[in-house]
Symmetry: C2
Subunit: 219 residues, 2 copies
């Protein structure tokens, strides 16, 4: 029985990867930068997107992935961002997004005038990293409140990402956390990782994120 | 192909549930209270356990679940707690614990003199809630830094738990978070949920957790 399961899983993963490649190429051809945001629940992905609309402009689109509720889509809508909500299921639905769901969403979206497409993946530091959604950049968001050891404990998300955004830096004075230790642990898992430290609340460090987006848009 | 996958999954889940029932009964017979702690990464489960040893006593045992590293086992060892580390795999291993792994761990552990067995599940607010590990009490730990909406967005973990520990309350003065709103959202998902608010750092509210443990030990 176990063999059968593995075979099916492999087949599903292969389909996922080929759709992911297709998305990566077609969005590149359209001149749209495609960024997949992954993190634990509550690390500040939605707040980052709200602030990005304010500081960067409104020509961004967000595909929101959640198990349940449209709360994040409602939040980004208030910030003037167009979005599409994917719900993976009302009762303990899937713990990650797959490329096929993104493809189906994109087929229903008018992307004209859009410069950056964000996917806000399901809040989960484990499973989303196992599924390529075809993004040009995978970015992991890590809140300083989560502790110094998370890159070591959840290495795949850090290994499969090109950027780590260390968020909520405004809370550092109230925590027993050394941000240099967080960065050292990230680099131990992925020496090539770009790292941006910021607080979407106070705006501290946010210019580096805007610079990163502009640089990658021109690439 | 899909039907086959579902059949295999159902078979695996049935085995998981029957081992879970077995564990629940055998630990009850031994007079050991068995608590499964679930949460997002970095919500403070390990700190809660360290402080529990200090305030409650040393007759507790922790089975640590992590994808990788023995960091949590090392931390609780320093607090004088005996522990057993389960690693689910070095490269993006399983995102949850299953009852069979707990059973195998228990077969290797000397539980004589132990009053409470804790499982510190993998940091993931989605998948662990889908797998019964046979605990007498499922407890979800939610840090105030994670935001007010998490019970609504990750309902299964809250629906399948009997206790919610709202942690890191010492950070409330520095957040735009209303703890009453968190509690309201918990009760919306699970009206029967017991809720304990505490800060393992300052000790605030910790007496309610110790009281909860003593009450359930006598039951």
């Amino acid at each position: 029985m176990e063999t059968k399961e593995i075979k099916v899983m492999k087949k599903i993963l292969n389909i996922n990867d080929s759709i992911a490649d297709e998305l990566r190429i077609s969005l590149k051809e359209k001149g749209i930068l495609y960024i997949n945001l992954m993190s634990s629940p509550g690390s500040g992905k939605t707040t980052l997107l709200e602030k990005t609309a304010e500081k960067f402009g409104k020509n961004i689109f967000v595909i929101e992935g959640d198990i349940q509720t449209t709360l994040d889509a409602e939040r980004v809508a208030k910030a003037g961002i167009r979005s599409f909500q994917i719900n993976t299921g009302p009762f303990g639905g899937d713990c990650h997004l797959e490329s096929g769901w993104i493809k189906s969403a994109i087929e229903e979206i008018d992307l004209s005038g859009i410069e950056i497409l964000f996917v806000e993946n399901i809040g989960n530091l484990v499973c989303p990293a196992e599924f390529d959604v075809g993004a040009h950049i995978n970015a992991v968001v890590l809140s300083v409140t989560e502790g110094e050891d998370k890159p070591l404990k959840y290495p795949l998300a850090f290994r499969n990402s090109q950027l780590c955004i260390i968020s909520k830096t405004d809370l550092l004075p109230y925590l027993d956390i050394n941000i240099e230790k967080i960065k050292e642990n990230i680099k131990n898992v992925n020496p090539q990782m770009d790292i941006i430290e910021l607080s979407a609340k106070t705006g501290e460090g946010f210019e580096n994120w805007v610079k990163f987006l502009n640089y990658n848009l021109k690439k």
